[in-house]
Subunit: 297 residues, 2 copies
C-alpha cells in the first residue's frame, strides 16, 4: 500500500461521472480506470449495483469489478438495497456505499422510498455485508434539496447517528445540487465528526463557484476524504439544477499548491480528464483542466 | 450615503470587464452603469485614462465621467502616469487608481516601463492629485506572473511601503492571471495590513477555480474590499493565460448566503450581468449567473 497522503481524494468519475451519460463500452471505462490509477488515484467509486433500466450507463457493474481485480486500489460500489449489496459482494467488492437522501422528497424522487425506509434498508445492508465488507453512507441533499430547499443540519446529525448505530464505517456529506457554502460545510463537518463519527467525507458540486472553497472548508473542519470527478463530469439525473462534480484536478491542484500532499500528479489527472471527457463526447470543463497548473516553473 | 455594508464589493465591469472587448457605444455603457447602480453597487471602476490606441474600448473616458456625475457612487478611474491623472482630474474624478506590476517583466510588457519607473511615476501622480483626489495603487501580478511565474511576497510588501510613502490611500493586491491560492492570499493580506496599511483590497480572477475561495480567504485576512466584474467579464489583454474576473454575482451570493451584508441584490446583479454580457456579445459565464441563487424559498 502506498504511503498515506495528507489529503485523500476519492475519484467518483466511473460512477457519478458516467451515470447520466450515454453508456460507453466497458473497455473504454477500463481505459479511464487505468488513467486514474496512473494519476495516483488510490480510492475510487467504480460503479453502482442498481437497476440497469434506471441507470443503463452502469449496467456492466459485475464486468467492471472482474476486470479491475488485483490493483492496489480501494474500489467502492454504490448500492441502494440488499439486492444490490448481494450483487456487489458476489462481485468481490469489500467497500459498499449506500445512499440516503436527507430530504424526504428527494428520497422519494431519487430512490422511490422515504428517508425512514432508506434507513431501514441501510440496516439490512449492514447486516448482510458487515464485517466482511464495510458500508459507508452518503447523505444526499445534506446542504440543500431541489424540492425542499433548506435542510436542517440537526436532521443530518440524527440520521448519521442512526447510520452509525446500523453499522456504517463512515458518513459522506453530499452537496447534491451545489448549494453548500463554506461556513455551513465546516460547521457541519465539525458537528458530525465530534458528535457522531470522525470518519466524515464530503462530496461536492461546483454549481455556484464554491466547490473548492467548500472542499477547503471541509478539510479545515476535519473531513477525512473529498470526492471529485475528473473534468467536472457528473451530476444527479434526478436532481433538477444539479451540475457536475467538483473536478479532481481542481481539488488536487488547490491542495498540492497549498502544500497538502494528495499523492496525485496534477498533469496526469488532467490527462485522465481528457480521456474521460473524450469518452463521453464532452470537452474538459474544469478550471485547471482548461487553464493548466498555475506554475510550470 | 447608504449605510456601509459588511463587505465592500467594487465593481470593475466598465473598466477591466470591457477593456479587451470591441468598443461599445457610451450609451450602452451607461445602461450597464444604471444596472449596476440598481443592483446596489456603491463603488466601481468607471474607466481608464490611457492611450485610446492601446485600449480603444475605453476611449470615451471623459464622456463616461461627464454622464455619471451626481450619483451617490464612488467612481474610480485608472491612470498610468501624470498625463492620465490630469485627464482624470479634469474629468472630475476624485478617486484615481494607479497600476504597478510587481513583476518587472510584466511591467515592461504591460506598461512599457520597469517596476521602478512605475513607482517614480506613482509619486508624481500622488503629488499632482493629493490631497484633492485620493490615489490607490493596484499591484498587478502580486500572486504570480505569466513570465516570471512565482512572485516574492517580500517584494509586494516593499513596493507597498514605497507606495504608502508616496501618498497612496490604499493598496489593491491583484491576482492578474489567477494563480493565487487561499493560504497565500490570507497570509499576504495579513502582512500588508499589519506592516504597511490596513487599507488592503484584493482583485481576483477565477482561472483555476479558486476565485471565491481566495476572496473568502482575503476577508479572513482582513481585506477591506473585493473587486469583481459581472458575468466574469474581463481579463488582461497583455497577460497570456489570463481569464475573466471573479464574478460579482458569485462573490455577492457567497457573502450574502454566509450572512455577510454586501448591500447588493443578487438577482439584480445577475440582471446587470445579462445586460453587460449581452452588450459585448457574450453569454453570462459566471456560476451563479448560470445556476441562480442557491435557494429561492
Amino acid at each position: 500500500m502506498a504511503e498515506a497522503a495528507a489529503v485523500l481524494l476519492r475519484d467518483v468519475t466511473l460512477r457519478d461521472g458516467l451515470q447520466d451519460e450515454d453508456p460507453i463500452p466497458t473497455e473504454q471505462k477500463l481505459v479511464i480506470f487505468e488513467a486514474l490509477v496512473a494519476a495516483g488515484v488510490r480510492e475510487l467509486e467504480l460503479t453502482s449495483f442498481v437497476r440497469p433500466d434506471r441507470v443503463p450507463a452502469l449496467a456492466d457493474a459485475e464486468a467492471m469489478c472482474a476486470a479491475t481485480v488485483g490493483h492496489d486500489i480501494v474500489r467502492w460500489g454504490l448500492v441502494l438495497n440488499q439486492q444490490g449489496a448481494s450483487r456487489a459482494l458476489d462481485a468481490g467488492l469489500t467497500h459498499l456505499q449506500f445512499v440516503i437522501s436527507v430530504s424526504d422528497t428527494h428520497s422519494r424522487e431519487n430512490a422511490g422510498r422515504t428517508t425512514a425506509d432508506a434507513v431501514e434498508a441501510l440496516a439490512e445492508v449492514c447486516q448482510l455485508a458487515c464485517p466482511e465488507a464495510q458500508v459507508e453512507v452518503t447523505f444526499a441533499t445534506t446542504f440543500g434539496c431541489p424540492y425542499e430547499h433548506r435542510v436542517d443540519p440537526d436532521r443530518v446529525v440524527d440520521l448519521a447517528t442512526l447510520a452509525v448505530t446500523a453499522g456504517v464505517s463512515g458518513v459522506n456529506l453530499a452537496d447534491t445540487i451545489g448549494t453548500a457554502i463554506p461556513s455551513e460545510v465546516k460547521s457541519l463537518v465539525i458537528r458530525v465528526a465530534s458528535e457522531v463519527t470522525p470518519q466524515v467525507g464530503i462530496h461536492l458540486h461546483d454549481t455556484r463557484g464554491l466547490g473548492v472553497a467548500n472542499a477547503l472548508a471541509a478539510l479545515e473542519g476535519g473531513a477525512r476524504r473529498l470526492d471529485a470527478a475528473v473534468g467536472g463530469l457528473g451530476g444527479c439525473p434526478f436532481a433538477p439544477g444539479a451540475s457536475g462534480n467538483v473536478a479532481l484536478e481542481d481539488l488536487a491542484h488547490a491542495c498540492e499548491e497549498a502544500g497538502l500532499d494528495t499523492g496525485l500528479s496534477v498533469p496526469a489527472v488532467i490527462t485522465a480528464a481528457e480521456t474521460a471527457c473524450g469518452s463521453v463526447g464532452r470537452t474538459v470543463a474544469s478550471h485547471v483542466g482548461v487553464a493548466g497548473p498555475r506554475f510550470t516553473l
